[in-house]
Symmetry: C2
Subunit: 111 residues, 2 copies
Amino acid sequence: MEPHSPLCPRFEKAIDLLSKRWTALIVFRLLDGPQRFVGIAGSLPNLSGKVLSERLRELEAEGLVRRDVYPETPVRIEYSLTEKGRDLAPLFDNIGRWAAKWIELPEDDRR
Amino acid sequence: MEPHSPLCPRFEKAIDLLSKRWTALIVFRLLDGPQRFVGIAGSLPNLSGKVLSERLRELEAEGLVRRDVYPETPVRIEYSLTEKGRDLAPLFDNIGRWAAKWIELPEDDRR
DNA sequence: TAATATTAATTACGTATAGTAAGTTAAAGA
DNA sequence: TCTTTAACTTACTATACGTAATTAATATTA
């Protein structure tokens, strides 16, 4: 049983970020272009507004997401990916290919 | 605000799987080769035995991990990746490259 | 035979994170 | 000033996680 080398802290941080619940799917949705709060919420039905709000803050703090306020009536707020965020696109391609190859769905989900 | 197409269920399932806490790191550790319970636990210091046990079962149920029992004294149990599990390796390469490019560490973590 | 040692796994219990639903804030037009 | 609407926020409940003690299995030792 040989010991492991410790994890690269950058790698560990990236995994922490991306494997937090909902974070990956929120980024994935934003890959389609800027989205408003209700738009993201509507496309991820099991994600609560509370958590979406938290995650968007975290993503903004990490520099993956930008928040733009348009003082219209009612106020419009758009979330979009920064370059750092958009650069995750290949990762999602990768997951998509893996899923297409390996994930079997139960009959009920296939119709 | 155009509506989103619903997520591909395979993709969604893959994300669910991989973004569950600790799962990705456990798979990553197993990419080095077969590991025993204590070995994995030792390499991920903040992961409790309880959750490691749960995750290994889930990964086994999903067909990413194989569990081999060697009835020695004391019993030796080895966990290893199946082909489905090993096929996630490029994903981790991808995350590693993204992290190297984008993750800035606080001074304290850099020494 | 009984006590011991070792690894894997489970259980009980407290804390943390997430989900639900109702409430609040802010902006501008009526 | 009142209304409307999107974007939060809060109080509460439920689920997931972490810690530490415990159990199971099995061979070795006293």
